[in-house]
């Protein structure tokens, strides 16, 4: 199986590799795994509380080239989007952009899962840190 040029590019020059402070209330962390192959991916987002815009994203993936490329692309895509816009990203969008073959679809699923998990984590933190505002309503 040969990787597409885009996959190779992301693999050789992954964007946004790194990590952010997991404890920060602005940061959402998604740690997910693909049961099919045992790979793991961590994706983190930093969200502006006023605008709900994702200002920064970082990832770290231990897995195949397609998983690395998918998560690298995912961080690029979510940056500058609002949380709701980011939730609209589907794994098949990633498949198309990277021309992933059918056996590598689960790698893109992993990236979508990671985005969702990170946003879910961030949302949970927001609910937990704004009980006063919620009660005031």
């Amino acid at each position: 199986m040969s990787y597409s040029d885009k996959v190779i590019d992301h693999y050789n020059h992954p964007r946004n590799v790194g990590s952010m402070d997991k404890a920060s209330t602005d940061v959402g962390t998604g740690l997910v795994g693909a049961p099919e192959c045992g790979d793991v991916m961590k994706l983190q987002i930093k969200v502006n509380r006023e605008t709900n815009v994702i200002e920064d994203a970082k990832f770290k993936t231990f897995g195949c080239g397609s998983a690395i490329a998918s998560s690298s692309l995912a961080t690029e895509w979510v940056k500058g989007k609002t949380v709701d816009e980011a939730l609209a990203i589907k794994n098949m969008d990633i498949v198309k952009e990277l021309s992933l073959p059918p056996v590598k679809i689960h790698c893109s699923v992993l990236a979508e899962d990671a985005i969702r998990a990170a946003i879910g984590d961030w949302k949970k933190k927001q609910e937990a840190t704004t009980p006063v505002a919620a009660e005031a309503k």
């Binding site: 740690l31 997910v32 795994g33 693909a34 049961p35 099919e36 192959c37 045992g38 790979d39 793991v40 961590k42 770290k60 231990f62 939730l87 589907k90 794994n91 679809i105 689960h106 699923v109 979508e112 899962d113 969702r116 998990a117 879910g120």
Partner: protein, 224 residues
């Protein structure tokens, strides 16, 4: 009952009929399997089905022998391995391992609820952490550095992983027994029961995947 590989009256090789691997050996689809007996029956059958022993080259019978022999090889290789056997059984049960995760993601997308990760979060954390350590170890090696403390830590992790792997195989066997119990009950066992047990089997296999990959990576990183 063993699938009819040979003609009852003349003993000649018959055309292969589409059967599952268990039936090919005349076995019920039970997971606790006597591997020694399987091996014996494999050698017996493979002698009898051997294409060279069966009639003229190019004849219909020889063609059937070829087909039956290759089916026999596949069946044997699948059933003798505990993991492959379990995966194969799940495949027979219609469980699509690959599809599961995808459809769970689709459901999460549609409902907005968080997808339940098949692998428990603390295991994921552990896997992630260890991978970080391994990366560090590889980096050190590249730079010609030696960090005995790191090496020792990874060595400890390796032992604990191997213990986990053993434990998972034992866990797998307890579900085998549950499954076999259902098979022995025959048609009395309900579909819900089968699904419940096959779900547990899937769960163990998934967790094992993580561990197996890690053990492999740890070994590779420590060796070179």
């Amino acid at each position: 009952m063993r699938a009819a590989h040979f003609c009852e009256s003349c003993g000649k090789v018959q055309p292969p009929v589409p059967v599952d691997y268990f039936s090919f050996f005349g076995l019920p689809p039970r997971l606790s399997l006597d591997v020694a007996a399987l091996e014996k029956s494999f050698y017996e059958l493979s002698r009898k089905l051997h294409p060279d022993l069966n009639a003229r080259a190019g004849s219909q019978e020889q063609e059937w022998s070829l087909e039956q022999s290759s089916l026999l090889n596949d069946a044997y290789r699948t059933l003798r391995d505990p993991i492959k056997r379990t995966e194969y059984l799940l495949h027979l049960e219609g469980v699509l391992l690959e599809e599961q995760s995808k459809s769970a993601t689709e459901q999460a997308r549609a409902t907005g609820e968080l997808k339940k990760q098949i692998v428990p979060p603390d295991l994921l954390e552990e896997v992630f952490e260890l991978n970080l350590h391994l990366e560090e170890l590889r980096m050190n090696k590249k730079m010609g550095d030696d960090d005995p403390a790191l090496f020792e830590e990874i060595g400890k992790a390796k032992l604990s992983l191997e213990a986990k792997h053993e434990a998972l195989l034992r866990e797998l066997q307890t579900y085998w027994k549950e499954w076999d119990g259902l098979i022995d009950r025959g048609p009395d066992a309900s579909t819900t029961d089968r699904q419940r047990v096959s779900g547990k089997l899937v769960d163990v296999l998934n967790r094992r995947n993580y561990i197996r990959n890690l053990v492999r990576d740890v070994n590779a990183a420590m060796e070179n």
